[in-house]
């Protein structure tokens, strides 16, 4: 095992797959000469050349559509959005074409494409640069949505996403690119659609994904001191959603807290809460609590942002509430 940064895990996954398959290319703003806005494609232009590591103008609609057109003709593009906030400019191509072409063509076309880049807030960037669209993309049939939380998962999941024959939305975080973690030197992949129990516990289940899961770990540490044992599930993929792992855990702990950095209305947490009440109603000893951002655009000022974002204290409070403590 070697300790590497999250950005290196992303770069290694792309480079390893590109060495094996000439039809894969990387395209996006700043990906080539600049080595990626967050250096997640460092060295790739040198290794693969400008035909396969392609700088684009600031034209998300155009290059998303071009990637789709090339995917209909035998290519397997990886499209980097500098952030998923900017994917909205290209979202027509993602929703109306990437997601639908397989179904609309009766299975004649499939779109092997990965749209990747950072999601959610990244410090005080203000309302347009702090949004989480996991639930928007996951709502659309035809898209898979992957949100890793550490370098090991990122590498294994991204390799699977690149090999997948359907479009995958792969969401990272500006605040995770520098995170370090152990990654095997030998080849490995992690299947999409499989959650990971990051911490086993017996008293309460906490479900989360992406960078915000760190707040769940901090809460679990804090609660452990008080003798409360939390099971923390990292979804890793939010669509397809690993309902089984969640249900199995809830049937054991009888209590569920969901932590998701997203606006509260109709999000991934809502979907999980629906599924659990439908399939494990009799096992629940308390109402499910979901912890999300405030129901407003992200504010700028540091104390406003702190109030807006969920944190470990919110998780501690929620866990105590479902335990009636």
């Amino acid at each position: 095992m070697k300790t590497i940064q999250f950005r290196e895990a992303v770069q290694q996954a792309m480079s390893e797959e590109m060495r094996k398959d000439d039809s894969i290319y990387l395209m996006g703003e700043e990906v080539a000469e600049y080595n990626g806005a967050y250096k997640a494609s460092k060295g790739m232009l040198d290794e693969f050349g400008p035909e396969r590591v392609i700088d684009t103008p600031i034209a998300e609609l155009g290059f998303s559509g071009i990637a789709i057109g090339s995917a209909m003709n035998g290519n397997r593009p990886i499209v980097e959005f500098m952030t998923f906030n900017f994917s909205l400019v290209g979202i027509d191509q993602i929703i109306n074409n990437a997601a639908k072409l397989r179904q609309m063509s009766g299975g004649q076309f499939n779109i092997p494409i990965v749209f990747r880049g950072p999601t959610a807030s990244a410090g005080q960037l203000g309302a347009t640069h702090s949004q989480a669209f996991e639930s928007w993309y996951a709502n659309c049939p035809g898209l898979k949505v992957v949100v890793p939380s550490n370098p090991y998962d990122a590498k294994g999941l991204l390799k699977s996403a690149i090999r997948d024959d359907d479009p995958v939305i792969f969401m990272e975080s500006e605040q995770m690119y520098g995170d370090k973690g152990e990654v095997p030197e030998e080849e490995y992949t992690i299947p999409l659609g499989v959650a990971d129990i990051k911490r086993e516990g017996t008293d309460v289940t906490i479900v989360s994904f992406g960078k915000i899961i760190k707040e769940a770990y901090a809460a679990a540490d804090e609660l452990e001191k008080e003798g409360i044992s939390c099971e923390v599930i990292d979804l890793r993929t939010v669509r397809p959603l690993d309902h089984d792992t969640i249900l199995k855990s809830v049937k054991k702990t009888n209590r569920l807290v969901i932590l998701e950095e997203a606006w509260p209305f109709g999000n991934i947490s809502t979907e999980i809460a629906y599924s659990v009440q439908m399939n494990a109603f009799d096992y629940l000893d308390a109402p499910i609590i979901k912890i999300n951002t405030a129901d407003t655009p992200a504010p700028y000022s540091p104390n406003l942002l702190k109030e807006w974002l969920p944190n470990s204290e919110d998780v501690v409070k929620a866990v105590k509430k479902v335990l009636y403590k």
Binding site: Y25, E51, T56, P57, A59, L61, G62, F63, S64, G65, I66, A67, I68, G69, S70, A71, M72, N73, G74, N75, D92, Q93, N96, N97, L101, R102, Q103, M104, S105, G106, G107, Q108, F109, P141, G142, K144, D166, P240
Partner: protein
């Protein structure tokens, strides 16, 4: 006449006539069950129906220069391009009827026709097909083939962001790509003059440093000549072009459109210049064909189209549970 191949003109006549006859059959079938009260969801062909009667030269005049390996992306008004490109006619008719034997097994409908065998696709979002053709051109360039890609749009889509982003990239990367703008004067009910700041979109080519061509008065021969040059340039790696053709929309935006926005003289005056008749007259006047040869060709078309409709009508609908297929889970 050295640069016009007689066989090409006959091929164009066949493609144009086939499209016209196919759409005449659609026009009749579409109204079944929708009279006396127009209900868009009723009848054997439900949903919106956008017909291309009158616009045939834009498709035939360029597709005559293409091969099966060249890509075509079309719009929500796609029949003339699909037929010229050689999309399987039986499967296309069956798709429009929503049958299991259709191109997309009944999941697409008339705005969503796909035939990978002849590299044809189209779609219901205005402008969205432009980057797809540019992407196909990028894939062609990567494979180092001489295959090219052609996107068809209406003049309305020329004002979309997809137009600008795609053309800039096609030009920047010198891709084998041609954009055909079919200016039929109307974006639904909005006149070209009310939506567009310039008289024709070939003028926009200079903004991208690429070649622009203008074909006036829906002229099939002129479309043939201009396209021949643009296709040859694209194949030789000389970069993209825009071809704008001033074409005719004989019918409404959709079938059932009361067309209150255009004056009553417009359509009869356009029909008097029907491009199919003009091409036929040209073929006869220049002794490039005979009345008998054209009659035979037309009879072949009627038989082929009629049997495609027969196939569509006789085919089964998909089973309800097939609604859940062709998505990844």
């Amino acid at each position: 006449m050295d640069h016009i191949d007689i066989k090409d003109l006959l091929w164009m006549y066949r493609a144009m006539k086939k499209s016209r006859y196919f759409e005449e059959r659609i026009e009749k079938a579409y109204l079944e069950g929708k009279q006396p009260i127009f209900n868009i969801g009723a009848g054997a062909i439900p949903g919106e129906m956008h017909l291309s009667n009158g616009q045939e030269p834009s498709a035939a005049g360029i597709i005559v220069h293409l091969t099966n390996n060249d890509t075509v992306t079309a719009t929500h008004r796609p029949h003339h391009e699909a037929i010229a490109k050689g999309v399987d006619l039986k499967k296309m008719a069956a798709e429009i009827y929503g049958k299991k034997t259709g191109l997309s097994k009944g999941k697409g409908g008339h705005m969503h026709l796909f035939d990978p065998n002849v590299k044809f696709s189209c779609g219901g979002i205005v402008g969205a097909g432009i980057p797809h053709a540019v992407g196909a051109a990028l894939a062609n360039k990567k494979k180092e083939t001489t295959d090219i890609a052609v996107a068809f749009i209406g003049e309305g889509a020329a004002n979309s962001g997809a137009f600008h982003e795609s053309l800039n990239l096609a030009a920047l990367w010198n891709l084998p790509f041609i954009l055909v703008v079919e200016d039929n004067s109307w974006g639904i009910s909005v006149a070209q003059k009310a939506s567009t700041s310039i008289p024709s979109n070939d003028l926009r080519a200079s903004s991208y440093g690429i070649k622009g061509y203008l074909v006036n008065d829906n002229d099939p021969i002129e479309m043939y000549k201009v396209s021949k040059e643009a296709v040859a340039r694209a194949r030789k790696g000389k970069g993209p072009s825009i071809i704008e053709i001033k074409t005719y929309r004989f019918l409404g935006h959709f079938q059932g459109d009361p067309e209150l926005y255009r004056n009553k003289e417009e359509v009869p005056s356009l029909r008097a210049k029907d491009p199919i008749n003009r091409l036929k007259e040209y073929l006869l006047k220049e002794d490039l064909s005979t009345t008998e040869e054209i009659k035979t060709l037309e009879n072949e078309i009627y038989t082929e189209v009629d049997s495609a409709f027969e196939f569509a009508i006789q085919s089964e609908y998909p089973k309800p549970e097939e609604a859940l297929e062709d998505v990844f889970y």
